[in-house]
């Protein structure tokens, strides 16, 4: 383990700086990649006949939903592993992933209604998929508030691990909600047992965008993890 509980703060700080730098490089590459994916979506992918240009929101909405659900799932997994192994790195990672997940969920929850308005005729509907997703977002906003309110490091990690696991349990319900309940939200067209049901050009653009959003998730989590390391270094220094 690198300097979270035992090593001198100066070593941890050096490591924090290196981690932040790595995160900035990864995030910059991903942001450029997302720009390329946007150009691909706007200029080199066919316009859907029934929805018009609004369908191109798909290339933002689906990758941001993927990244948010990936982030929240990993918070739950890291939380479970923390309760078992009590390795503070897992708690630090979970905190980073939760915050980044909230940012991606904000993209998902704003682009979704903007897409819904011209297609469904309404910004929002209280069906299972949308309501559960909004609930998951608020759960992780609460997770971040909980972390800010509890000062004892071990208590904070244990409490937030339990909330993270609750969030993880919601993720499969959200994915399957379109099969389980009547909903306006379309069923999965890629992550389903049969082959993806969209033309190759659209699938290609979606895949490029999803890879870049995933890379951006990795970059943001790396920076946020580095910030966590630096905060730990400060706390150790203040305590020492």
């Amino acid at each position: 383990m690198t300097g979270l509980s035992g090593a001198a703060p100066v070593v941890t700080l050096t490591r924090a700086r290196a981690v932040v730098r790595r995160g900035i490089i990864i995030s910059s590459i991903a942001l450029i990649g997302i720009g390329v994916a946007a150009i691909l979506a706007l200029g080199f992918t066919p316009i859907e006949a029934r929805q018009g240009l609004a369908q191109k929101i798909f290339y933002l909405h689906v990758p941001s939903a993927w990244s948010a659900l990936l982030a929240f799932s990993l918070v739950g997994i890291a939380g479970g592993l923390y309760l078992w192994l009590e390795d503070p790195r897992l708690d630090l990672f979970a905190a980073a992933s939760a915050e980044v997940g909230v940012a991606f969920a904000a993209v998902m929850l704003t682009t979704g209604p903007i897409w819904a308005k011209p297609i469904w005729g309404t910004w929002w509907t209280w069906d299972a998929r949308l309501t559960l997703t909004l609930f998951l977002f608020f759960l992780f906003v609460g997770y971040l508030a909980l972390r800010a309110a509890v000062h004892d490091r071990h208590e904070r990690a244990r409490f937030s691990a339990v909330v993270g696991i609750m969030g993880l349990l919601l993720v499969p319900f959200i994915h399957l909600s379109v099969y389980l309940f009547r909903t306006l939200h379309p069923q999965p067209i890629v992550l389903k047992p049969s082959a993806p049901s969209l033309p190759w050009e659209m699938l290609r653009t979606l895949l490029v965008s999803t890879v870049m959003f995933t890379l951006l998730y990795i970059g943001y989590v790396t920076i946020r993890y580095g910030i966590g390391l630096a905060i730990d270094a400060r706390e150790q220094s203040d305590a020492g």
Binding site: P9, I24, I34, A230
Partner: protein
């Protein structure tokens, strides 16, 4: 003759602007926090 797709470009532009603002804004927030915490330690 095939029908024209509906004129929904404004929604698309709005979604791309909102998403870009959130993602870039969060990136800048991370950079500012990282800079502040790392600078504090150098003093």
């Amino acid at each position: 003759m095939p029908a024209e797709p509906p004129a929904t470009g404004g929604y698309m532009v709005a979604a791309y602007v909102v998403a870009g603002t959130i993602l870039l804004g969060y990136f800048l927030s991370l950079l500012r926090r990282a800079k502040r915490i790392l600078k504090q330690r150098e003093r």
